[in-house]
Amino acid sequence: MFDLNVPWPVQTYNSPSQQQLTGLYNVIATLYCLGYNHLAINFNVQENVKLPYGQPTSINPIPMQQLRERFSEYPNLKLFSRITLQISDPSQCQGLSKLQNIFDIISIQPNTEKALQLATTNLDIDMISFSLTSRLPFFLKHKTIGAAIDKGIKFEIIYSSALTGPAGYLVTSANDNMTLSTTALLARKVFFNNLMQLIRASRSNGLVVSSGAFQSVQVRNGPDILNLLQTVGLDRARSKACITDNPEKVLISGRLRIKSAKQVIAVNNDESMEGLLYSNEGEDPVKKTETAGFTKKLSDTSSGRLLKKQRIV
C-alpha cells in the first residue's frame, strides 16, 4: 500500500526540533506496521516562503539519506520526497522546472479557481490536493477535474485532519465523557461535503487517499478509510485503486521525470522495471540537483559499456 503524504513537521526551512523528528519517525513506523510500505515525506510550502533557487542542493530540507539509514532495519520500506506548493496567484509559480529533479513527486494545492485552472492545464505536476477541512472557495466542475484526470494528474484526499487532532473526540469532564467540540463538528461536516464534491466531480476516478498524519494516532487502516469513503459515495469497484494503483501511477510519473528523457525513454538494462522506478537509494544527490538535469549516459549501463567497447574495437 502507498501513503504519499507523511508531512515534514515544519513548513519553512528551519530545522525541526528533536521531538518533532521523533514524531515523524513514529508516524513512519506506525504506517509500516499497518502495511503501508511506500511512503512519501511531504514538504508543504506556503506561498510566501521563498525557495532558494540559487543553491539547488538546499531546496530540499528533508534529509532523505539520513531517514533511509534510520529505517534501514525495516524490510521493503521505501521512502520518497514530495513537495506541495500552495498557490493562489497563478503568476507566482515560476520556478517549477527547477524543482523537477530534486523531489520525487511535485504536487500543488490551489487556493483559487484560477490556480486550479492553471494547475490542470499548463503545469507539469503529478498531483493536486485540497485542504478538505475548510470550505472550498470554488465549485469543482467535472470538466476541469475530468480533463486533469485524462492528463494523468491525480487528486488527493487527506483524511487525518478531519478525524483526529482538533477535529477529534475530546475528554472534557472527569467522568470520561467523549464529546466533539463545535469546531470539530464543523470540520467534519465540511470534510464530508468536500469529499462528496470531489467524488462527484471525478466520478471516483483518479483519486489518491493519503494520511497527512503529524502524529501516529492520526493514521488509519487503508480498507477502513475506503469503507468510510464508500458511505459518502465512492464507487466500490474503484475504491481499492485509491490506495494501490493510483498512488503508484503518481510515483511512476514523478520518478520518470527524473529517470527518463521526456518521460518516454529510460535507459536501463540491468534492473527490472521496479528497480528503475523505485530504487532511489543509490542516487547521487549532487548529480540529481545539477541544473542541467539528471541525464543518464550510455556508459552508465552495462550494455552501454559494451557499445563503447565495440566502437573502440
Partner: protein, 179 residues
C-alpha cells in the same frame, strides 16, 4: 420465513505512542519494537459494555437518530479480550458499513488515544475466531524472528497470545466431536 441476517466484525485496538509517553523515543527503533508497542493489552475499564456505548455514541453523533436507530440498536460487542485488545461485535447486515465507519471515526476511548482497526467481516462468529487465530499465529512468527534485544516484552507478548491459542485448541477439539 427469511432468517434474520447479521454480520460479525473482528476488530482490534492499537495503542500508538503518545508524546511525552514512555515509548515515544524508542518506538521506531525496529519493526519489532513498533509492533510490541502497538499491540498492548487494554486497561480493565474497556469492556464489551463500554465499547458498545462508545460505538452507539459515535453513530448518534455522525448519523443522527436515523443511524442510531437502524445501526446503533443492533450493535452489540460479543467478545473482547483485554490481553490482546481484540474483539468481535455483531450488527445487522444492512448497516454494517455504518458500524465500520464509526470505528474509523473513533479516535479515543476514555483518556487514551487509539486506532481501531477492522480486521475481518463475516456472517458467522466462528469464521471471525478462526481468522483471528490464524492472524495471531502469523504475528507471533514475525515477532519471534526478530533479535532478542528486549526479551521481557516479547515473552509477555507471546504469553498474551498463548492464552488465545489455548482457546483455539479447545475449539478444534469441539470441531472434531461435531463431525
Amino acid at each position: 420465513m427469511v432468517r434474520l441476517k447479521q454480520r460479525y466484525i473482528l476488530f482490534d485496538i492499537l495503542y500508538p505512542p503518545e508524546p511525552n509517553g514512555e515509548e515515544f523515543d524508542t518506538f521506531s527503533d525496529s519493526p519489532r519494537s513498533a509492533l510490541l508497542s502497538l499491540y498492548q493489552s487494554s486497561s480493565t475499564s474497556i469492556n464489551p459494555k463500554t465499547l458498545t456505548q462508545v460505538i452507539r455514541k459515535i453513530l448518534q453523533d455522525h448519523y443522527g437518530d436515523f443511524g442510531a436507530g437502524t445501526a446503533g440498536m443492533s450493535v452489540s460487542v460479543k467478545y473482547f479480550n483485554n490481553k490482546t485488545s481484540t474483539g468481535i461485535l455483531r450488527c445487522s447486515r444492512q448497516s454494517f458499513h455504518l458500524v465500520m465507519a464509526s470505528l474509523t471515526l473513533l479516535n479515543r476511548i476514555g483518556k487514551r488515544e487509539v486506532i481501531v482497526r477492522c480486521l475481518h467481516v463475516s456472517g458467522t462468529i466462528k469464521k471471525c475466531e478462526e481468522f483471528s487465530i490464524k492472524r495471531n499465529k502469523n504475528l507471533m512468527l514475525v515477532v519471534k524472528q526478530g533479535k532478542k534485544d528486549n526479551s521481557n516484552g516479547v515473552n509477555q507478548f507471546i504469553n498474551n497470545f498463548g492464552q488465545n491459542e489455548a482457546f483455539a485448541i479447545e475449539n478444534d477439539v469441539e470441531d472434531g466431536s461435531d463431525e
